[in-house]
Amino acid sequence: MVLTDQEVNYFVSTIKGASLYDFSEYSEKSLKRRLQKILLDNNMDLLALINKIKTNKIFLEQIVRDITVNTTELFRDPLIWQTLKYRILPKFSENKNINIWHAGCSTGQEVYSMMILLNELNLLDKAKIFASDLNTEALDAAKKGVYKYRFNIGYLDNFDKVIKENPFNYDEYNDVSYEKYFKIDKISDSIIMNDFLKKIPIFRQHDLVKGENLFFAKFDLILCRNVIIYFKYSLQNKVFKLFYDHLYTNGYLVLGMHETMLGEIASRFDKKGQAYRKK
């Protein structure tokens, strides 16, 4: 099933007309692929889908959830987590509070990664963790903090690289047990986060397209990883502006490994790797 650009636009304007969601500034290729997948999964053609969206609010919400991409990992890209561990988070050690926003947190693996890292740095007590996503199902999974074990065996390698090893000193090895933070239950094939971690974050549904900050706070650190690749340039800039306005000076924005900030807004940050410091 191959959709034309006009058909994708028709879908986008239907959603826009029937709800507060707006996908008109999402990048075309991914949006088209997601829509094709939805049609296939629901065994529907576009007209049938659009009719159902117009008449059934619950179905519309489901389609909106299915449009979003929800792939994330514990300590995804260890290099970035090592940067946070050695270069960025220690700068906040004298702060009274550390406000952190995971924008587009999906199923929450990086929210837990952050809390684990903060705890190892003895900074978790002063941290306020906010996490948001458009997809309420993903948020529910994030609150539960239960992940497939076998499918995600790479999580443990990442954990070791970030928490146990020191890339600058191979003699150093912190033998932190996994059980300190999560239980591995091989019978149910799951990794279950410990309760003390689950209680900390404030999770909220949030649409970055709206350009608002719903936490009424300013942040020392914002992580927004592999989210803006689904946005067009114009929407990316709107989101960067939102982050800029709600970061403290010298606060950091951390993007995905292959995301980059372009245009005028980039001059208001100092960039090192994937970390952008607000000037």
């Binding site: 075309e28 290729k29 991914s30 692929r33 790479g154 340039y233 292959h258 995301e259 980059t260």
Partner: protein, 185 residues
């Protein structure tokens, strides 16, 4: 007359890719788009290994990078690499397709839509069927299709799957692929 080359490969393709890249001159007039499977834990170092003797620059692109001639773009580990109609790179972390991310099919299909009859698609050695569908798209949209000679491949599955699905234009050895690419200057 051609505007881009897209190459897909998996098991047994690394040395072939290296030979091809090492043969292209610095001012090669086309961009080379590479969608290669790699072992999941080998996430870095691949681009460096490919760059050692290559005269053209090999990069793992950022999202929305503009595609330029004389450069090779390697799909980053754990991302799908799409080609947008405006000749920019689009990356995605959507689920693996046929257990693969990057998916060769997706890079080929979107490159075919962007470059149509101005595209050369090449499938190399590999141990699964990814790429066969993408190469078919290249053919359907008027592009030129090449498959590495299965007799020369370390693993034939990928090339044979492609040959089954598409009446390709050429079955070439590595040296013939290189000669052909150099003739496009």
């Amino acid at each position: 007359m051609y505007k881009a080359v897209v190459i897909g490969g998996s098991a047994g393709s690394f040395q072939v890719i290296t030979r091809i890249l090492n043969s292209l001159p610095k001012n090669y007039p086309l961009p080379v788009l590479l969608s290669l499977h790699r072992l999941k834990h080998v996430r870095s170092g691949f681009v460096e290994a490919l760059s050692i003797k290559s005269a053209i620059e090999v990069t793992e692109p950022f999202d929305k990078d503009t595609i330029k001639p004389g450069k090779a773009y390697l799909a980053p580990s754990n991302y799908h690499m799409y080609i947008e109609l405006n000749k920019k790179i689009a990356l995605s972390t959507e689920e693996p397709v046929n257990h693969s991310r990057p998916s060769i099919d997706l890079t080929f299909e979107t490159a075919a839509q962007a470059y149509r009859d101005k595209l050369v698609g090449i499938i190399l050695s590999g141990a699964n069927r990814d790429g066969a569908f993408g190469l078919k798209k290249v053919k359907q949209l008027g592009g030129l299709t090449i498959v590495q000679d299965p007799n020369e491949c370390q693993v034939k599955t990928m090339t044979e799957a492609s040959l089954k699905l598409t009446q390709v234009d050429h079955i070439f050895t590595t040296q013939q692929i290189i000669n052909f690419l150099l003739s496009l200057k």
